[in-house]
Amino acid sequence: MRLYIFAALAIALTSAFALYGINYDTRQLERRVQAKERAIKIARRDIAVLKAERAHLGRPERIEPLARAQGLRPATERQLFAGPAEAMANVFSETAQRIARASRGE
């Protein structure tokens, strides 16, 4: 009987300690999960703000003048050539004109 009682007491105490341990670990894990969730929420909030800022900085109204300042323009028909031969002819023509202007001292 005594053995039974001691055994029961030991099991109860062990169970209690185990339960306390599990409970403590659970609380710790919960705290860690909550901390991660808070970090995720803050990160998502920051991403939303950064996304909005990037879109604001990349709006056409702002980008277009910057592109123009870089000399970028929409494609025009003057950039078209019939083919390599005509392209070369144009290049030669421009070069010839430049040489002619240079020879005239212009």
Binding site: A52, E61, E77
Partner: protein, 581 residues
């Protein structure tokens, strides 16, 4: 001290248990031990049960119950353009509230807050803070971080902040009419924002929880939208117009790539949309559109086989219908072909074609193109057309050149797209269609009629006498039709007040996009030769828009069109790589 001794004899039975007083004592001791053990076991079980309950219980339920009575907001999906560029998103913002029971000095709170918010209703706030039964009073919602910090620095007891979701529009007023706006609870109340609430779905949240839904993808291209808005703003300045509107539509899918109405509205400032001058002229207003309607009249006559493009019509005499006399601005001194009626924009010619077709066929054709019934898009119902009560001779004549019938520009653009795309129905949409999505190709007119309309629209731009010649763009085969409509006022049409418009399409060898430009009450300026006609203001504006948006839409200038411009001889077969991508 007595001790119970059990003696077991060798080879014999165990000794009998002690009897009498000693035996009772032993039995009582066991009972007490048993009871004590049970009590300890029950106690441990209670402790263990409590531990398990606490470990399993969720803390979030507590949080929810605190917030439930305070504020509910809506987490909305982002809105992006057809290329994924952001147009609207949710961000967290601080909202300021007060707990009147914790406010120590009401006057100090009111005065210091008024120094930060000059428009604060001090009387109302003082009254709210004086209420003995209130524990929560909103003061200002959606504060910027800077303003929130300034209030925080005041150190006033009784004030606190709550994080909420606010809608941010990074593009500013870009596409403001299409986007619409939300209310203070982040709920969509107008435009595409409302469509998000009604169809796509938003999430009711407590506090500032961002939505996890995929973004809603508009059909708009913000590069094209910006180009259209900027060119319209330039046109308003050049021609001193009161307003302008522009549409770019994919004539096959009905996707709206740009929809601009100036003066514009900023979706972050919903109060702007209450200004009548800022109403969306593309979808929420109807106008008598004038001679662009001749596209419909000529198409009707061709589709019903009343005439062909070469049929000659006598337009030398004015047309009389009831008390009205219809004249041409520049009367022809000879009969004109149907194509010439279109190119010279002859009111008399259009009226004759409508009379030849008759009231029934004229009305039926308008019905077929859905110009008489209200339509709806994702940004809301389009303003319902205003149509004649009866269709007598005078009504069909005035309707033939775009008077006596008022429709929203977007609705007319959709009908015009049908005339240009080979004849199938176009339903305008602000949502991007998937390239591989099956489309309901409902034929409304004959493909041959569509071909004829394309041909005369192109001629109207290339012909030196065409009213649309100033819309010509080097490198792009553009076609179009002008419209200069007088604006009705009290007691008749206003003097010198017109809506000039130009409906263009490109590339005309196989039209892909429709561009519709409207200028409201332009003045004759140096840039328009002192005239207010559409050929002088709306047509060149449409040309400038096409020049800018062509490359953005992946359409490079073609060498054929360039050749037509410069009279240079090109070998088209070698130039395939320069064709539209």
């Amino acid at each position: 001290m007595e001790r119970a001794i059990t003696i077991t004899p060798l080879g014999g039975k165990p000794a009998r248990r002690p009897q009498g007083k000693l035996g009772d004592t032993v039995a009582n001791g066991r009972l007490r031990m048993l009871v004590a053990s049970l009590a300890i076991a029950v106690a441990f079980m209670a402790v263990a049960g409590q531990l398990v309950r606490l470990a399993l219980s969720s803390q979030f339920q507590v949080t929810s119950s605190l917030n439930a009575t305070i504020a509910e907001s809506f987490a909305r999906p982002d809105i992006v353009d057809r290329n994924g560029r952001l147009l609207a998103t949710d961000v967290e913002a601080q909202s300021l509230f007060a707990d009147p029971t914790r406010v120590i000095d009401r006057d100090e709170v009111v005065e210091k807050l008024a120094s930060i918010f000059p428009d604060l209703n001090q009387v109302e706030l003082r009254k709210s803070l004086s209420s003995p039964h209130r524990r929560f009073v909103w003061i200002r919602r959606g504060l910027s971080p800077k303003t929130a910090q300034r209030i925080h620095n005041l150190g006033l007891p009784g004030l606190a902040f709550r994080r909420e979701l606010r809608r941010a529009y990074p593009g500013g007023a870009l596409a403001g009419h299409v986007l619409g706006h939300v209310n203070v609870d982040n709920k969509g109340v107008a435009g595409f924002e409302r469509y998000l609430d009604e169809v796509v779905g938003v999430e009711a949240v407590y506090g500032a929880t961002l939505a996890e839904r995929a973004p809603a993808r508009l059909s708009l291209d913000i590069g094209v939208q910006h180009a259209v808005e900027e060119e319209l703003a330039t046109a308003i300045n050049r021609f001193r117009a009161r307003g302008a509107a522009g549409i770019v539509l994919d004539i096959d899918t009905g996707e709206v790539l740009a929809s601009a109405s100036l003066p514009d509205v900023d979706p972050a400032r919903p109060i702007m949309s209450l200004d009548p001058a800022r109403i969306d002229k593309v979808a929420n207003s109807t106008f008598e559109l004038g001679s662009v309607f001749k596209m419909v009249t000529v198409a009707m006559a061709l589709d019903n086989a009343v005439v062909s493009l070469d049929t000659m019509v006598d337009v030398r005499e004015p047309l009389t219908a009831g008390r009205f006399t219809i004249r041409d601005l520049h009367p022809a001194d000879r009969p004109l072909s149907v194509a010439d009626i279109f190119i010279r924009s002859s009111n008399v010619g259009a009226g004759v074609l409508a009379l030849e077709a008759g009231p029934q066929r004229s009305r039926e054709f308008l019905e077929r193109l859905r110009l008489l019934d209200p339509i709806k898009t994702e940004i809301g119902p389009i303003a319902a057309p205003q149509v004649p009560d009866q269709w007598q001779e005078s009504e069909i004549i005035t309707t033939s050149y775009g008077h006596g019938i008022a429709v929203a520009p977007l609705q007319f653009a959709a009908a015009a797209a049908t005339l240009l795309n080979g004849g199938h129905r176009v339903i305008p949409t602000f949502v991007k269609r998937q390239p591989d999505a099956e489309r309901d190709m409902v034929p409304l007119i004959k493909p041959a009629t569509s071909d004829d309309i394309r041909r005369i629209m192109r001629r109207n731009v290339t012909d030196p006498k065409g009213t649309g010649k100033r819309a010509n763009v080097a490198g792009y085969p553009v076609g179009g039709k002008t419209g200069t409509a007088e604006i009705p006022g009290a007691g008749g049409y206003k003097k010198d007040a017109v809506i000039s418009s130009f409906l263009a399409a490109f590339p005309m060898n196989k039209p892909k996009y429709l561009v519709y430009v409207l200028l409201f009450e332009p003045k004759g300026t140096g840039d328009s030769g002192g005239e207010v006609f559409a050929g002088r203001n709306a047509a060149p504006t449409a040309g400038r828009i096409i020049r800018r948006i062509g490359p953005l839409l992946g359409l490079l200038p073609t060498s054929e069109a360039a050749a037509a411009q410069s009279n240079r001889v090109f070998d088209a077969t070698r130039l395939a790589k320069y064709e539209a991508r």
